[in-house]
Symmetry: C2
């Protein structure tokens, strides 16, 4: 539930109580600007990682006397390409969004939160599926006579491994961003009803001291 | 940062303002008990799904004139078994935890939050990797001469598909639980500094009206 009347007014009183007028705004702008820069960088990093992973896997192919192999032969790798492309695009957009100072409404917080969550799951699934392909290429599977491929197509496999590893690095970034945006969103709401917290005093232990 | 002095006191004043003494506690117990039951059920459901998925894939094997195939031939399926097992165990523990009324401290909220997040990612990765195996079993891959296996081992493939589908259903439950626990956790903290919200009035739009 939303922080109701008393809570919000209490918050507003508290906030305006910190000082008066322009001084407060300047002080808070000083406090907020580095956070904005940090978030923008946090969103540019996975974009760079996703683009690198995409470029590595996109043109990955090898041909030799035994035949030819290419990323486009594997549906899983195609999904990896699309997932990294879409995530890189979203990261770019959300980095712009984070860079520009603007009013942050509830609906915007929900939007960023929603997409951060979805893309974290999308990129993780792509990484996991591709990791499985790479694993099978290295090991093969005797029970259904799938031969290993990496002895023959070593360069292809190394590039695929690099792309998958970078995708997992991007996944870690997305997971961190989805935590950040869920904090941004849920910190605006009241905690669940009181009797979950009979020892309300404990709530005052500063977990993130300033 | 934690809700600081003014905020917490404001909150406590607001909460004690709802009524007085035992009446409040009873009213709140009435309000909280159904939530507790709902959360317990929300944690039992993915346990049931994970166990079903585990049992389907665990003893999945088929032999015929062409040979024999078994889940244990695939590292990805083994990961699916372990992931579903660990997640089912965690769900059971956390269902007990949710069922019993107790004080909910910050550290407990962080613990539940952390494990909900981790197991969501673990089960999603297991589902995605196994889905890739199943996909390759159905389609094969001509470029590296991996033959399809489901024409020969149809029953094995159908069970694997069912297990993967149920795993994804469990993933959806875990994702919902990780949202719930991040709300529980982050609702205890103050939102980021004020100048992110120049139009503080907008905060009062009830997104979850009671």
């Amino acid at each position: 539930m939303m922080k109701d009347g008393g809570g919000v007014e209490g918050g507003l009183v508290e906030k305006s109580g910190r000082g008066n007028g322009g001084v407060v705004e300047e002080e808070e702008e000083e406090e907020v600007a580095p956070m904005r820069t940090a978030e923008t960088l946090m969103r540019i990093l996975p974009m760079a990682l996703s683009l690198t992973a995409l470029l590595l896997i996109l043109k990955n192919s090898q041909s030799n006397d035994f035949g030819a192999i290419s990323s486009s032969d594997f549906a899983g790798f195609k999904y990896l390409i699309y997932a990294n492309g879409v995530c890189a695009g979203y990261s770019l957009l959300s980095a712009f969004y984070a860079a520009v100072p603007r009013s942050s409404t509830i609906s915007r917080a929900w939007t960023i939160f929603f997409f951060d969550q979805v893309f974290t799951y999308v990129i993780l699934a792509a990484g996991a599926a591709s990791a499985e392909i790479v694993f099978l290429e290295f090991r093969g599977d005797a029970s259904i006579t799938w031969s290993e491929a990496c002895g023959t197509y070593g360069r292809f496999c190394r590039k695929a491994v690099a792309s998958v590893a970078i995708t997992f690095a991007a996944t870690v970034c997305y997971a961190a961003l989805s935590l950040l945006s869920s904090y941004r969103l849920f910190a605006r709401y009241d905690p669940p009803p009181v009797s979950f917290y009979p020892h309300a005093k404990e709530l005052q232990v500063p977990a993130f001291p300033r």
